[in-house]
Amino acid sequence: MLSLRDLTFSFLKPDGTPATESPTLNRVNLDIDQGKFILVCGPTGSGKSTLLKVINGLAPSFTGGAISGEVIIDGKNLTGRAPHEFASLVGFVNQQPEGSFVADRVLDEIVYGAEQLGVDEATISKNLAEITAILDIEDLLQRNLDSLSGGQQQRVAIAAALIAGQKILLLDEPTSALDQQGAGKVLAVLKKLTQEHGVTVLLAEHRISRVISAVDELLVVNGDGSVSLGPVEDQFKDARFAPPIIELGLKLGWQPLEVTAENANKRWQEKPKTFTPINPNPAAEKLLTLDQLSVKFADLLALDETNLEFFGNQITAVMGDNGSGKTTLCWAIQGLGQKTTGRVSMQEGETADLAKASRLDLIAMVPQRAADLLFLNSLAEEFSESDSFSQQPQGTTANLFQKLAGRIDSSMHPRDLSAGQQLALVLSIQLAKSAKVLLLDEPTRGLDYAAKRALAKQLKQLIEPNRSIILASHDVEFVALVADRVILLKNGKVVSDQIVGKALNYSSPLASQLAQISQTEGLIRLDQVSA
């Protein structure tokens, strides 16, 4: 169905020389049969999405770069052709469905591709009936796209990619923006497409744990230009991008590796390992007190008379479902432009009485989209703007950034940094005045496992007796890595306030993956287990 022969692809600098020392894809040979469900994974920047783009013609005609070798699809050699020549054979679904919609109504969006390809009306009608039935979206055809849930949007995007009868479907991180339920339905549909309709599916994803049990084979893009294809259990030699379940297997030397929680649990129960309990950082002085803090939006009570205390030397995670009040709590503590009732006080006094500038100095916040704060053309400009704005000696921000992210060329454009580096940049800008309270709203959005680990390390570096770090997150594994204390919110109310080992325990609804596997009191993360 799909073959790559000696395929080499490298990105080029504007002057035509290769941008990297070795090609992104180097002499890749690959044969994929019809009807296979394949997970494509690898560390960020390894070339996962480049591989997908080579298969639908977006690389090189869209991305630039040099290609050699052959891309053969359904017996046709399409190497170096424009994307629209691939379009009738290969369907493509992007990370964010709402960013790739052309139309406003579901029906128009689905048939768009077939119209572009000049498919006749009778065939479009037939394909439309078929594909909407498979994806269970027949009732949505007349709806507006923006009225759909994320999962429904993603299924519409899949239908749109297959409307012209394409037999290969490529998906670039299709479930990363979806909740568990939405992602489950999308995966079930993909499984059905491969098994019952002979569609070949290649799925690139970094949230591997939710996908891994559904796929037939794993295609690993190693990052050195090579790729390898094989059964899931054989593929994880490299732990850089592995989910906790695989990491556990690797650490304990399981042969073969387990991919479902159920099997892993059996395996663990056969031979449980010893582990060290978690020692949370001892709380230092009390830095922040919330007294009867409430926030009301129209008729919704987003935060309901919350009383909390936060201490230095600690990282506190605020957890809860979407809409439970996590983000609202962060903004209410920061207190800018939000109507709140109740009191937020620090040693310096009530924050409502402080001048805006000194409040900004005391309480730093990194919003959900950190890049919203970046608007200058180079790191150097951002550094000096930050130093002069916070009236710190030149170099303060740059030093902090270097401490967090390592040495990076300061002439780089902030937008060319990775998501993790951007976060580090915003952290250093916001902390230039060494605030006593640091708030982070969903800091792990869009980060892969490696970047999350790096962020955890950075946050631990920032722990000081005179600083309290508070993060709102729904990412259990990340919280397990960094937090000392976990506060759980529900409908704007605090429902529990515990140390991390208890909060993410196996019996808790917030159990970490390792806690679920081990079913053991006090074991929540991998570094507790001795090999």
């Binding site: 504007p14 869209f62 630039g64 608007f375 200058l376 053309n377 454009h413 937008r415």
Partner: protein
């Protein structure tokens, strides 16, 4: 050769549209129904000429990336225009058109200017007989901005952009006032056009009309906001747009 023909038809269309703005200066017939006829014909003719120019600029060679980029810039400009609307003399729709056209070229600039006026009218409900004229006007502002020479020194670049912003603000303002002049003043007042009069005396009355109706104040506000916005944003916006241009592989020829 084909390019030459294409440019020639755009030039002819441009001249025709200027005529449709400034007809009170040129009309010879003193019969009211004939002036009304010209007015009516131009209301229908302007959209047609506008469509011809848009087709001339767009047919054939717009790729997916240019198109998507055009879409986001049109949306952004329409939204920015709505932010500025309502405050007297503030016109925020021009600077992005000028900077966008400067980076991406005249054709892109014309489409960006005309379409963002169209979209903001769709969003706020300002569609009327004046809309094709506004679209043509802002389209021409974009077209001209695509012809501003590129300088290597930053201050020269900024100066040329600001000078263009001031000139185009006043020219656009005068054209639009010229359009509403026969509508709002009609004939038979001391500030009305007089058919067949020498151009210079009609122009004098036109300037009196501009001054008295506050048109100059609006034009001045437009020139001022556009210049200030260009001074404030050009450095970072041009960098951003240039990065977009290399991502999208579009740049003025």
């Amino acid at each position: 050769m084909k390019l030459l023909i294409s440019r020639l038809s755009i030039a002819v269309a441009g001249l025709a549209s200027v005529l449709m703005f400034t007809w009170p200066l040129f009309i010879t017939s003193k019969i009211a129904s004939e002036a009304a006829l010209a007015q009516a014909v131009f209301i229908v003719l302007m959209p047609l000429v506008l469509i011809l120019v848009l087709v001339e600029f767009s047919s054939g060679d717009i790729g997916a990336k240019q198109l998507a980029l055009l879409g986001v810039l049109i949306a952004l400009n329409a939204v920015i225009r709505m932010l500025g609307a309502g405050t007297a003399g503030i016109e925020t729709a021009f600077f992005l058109v000028i900077l966008g056209a400067f980076v991406f070229g005249s054709g892109f600039g014309f489409i960006l200017g005309a379409s963002s006026i169209f979209v903001s009218a769709l969003l706020t409900g300002g569609i009327g007989p004046w809309l094709p004229f506004q679209m043509m006007g802002v389209g021409l502002v974009g077209l001209g901005a695509g012809l501003i020479p590129k300088f290597t020194r930053s201050w020269q670049q900024k100066t040329s952009l600001v000078v263009y912003a001031v000139i185009s603000s006043f020219v656009y303002g005068s054209l639009m006032t010229m359009w509403n002049w026969p509508f709002l003043a009609g004939t038979g007042t001391q500030l009305s056009y007089v058919a067949g009069d020498p151009i210079i005396s009609n122009l004098t009355r036109f300037f009196q009309y501009e001054l008295i109706t506050g048109g100059f104040f609006w034009d001045f506000g437009r020139a001022l906001t556009t210049s200030v916005l260009i001074l404030l944003t050009s450095q970072s916006l041009l960098a951003t747009l240039n990065r977009a241009a290399s991502k999208a592989g579009v740049r003025r020829g």
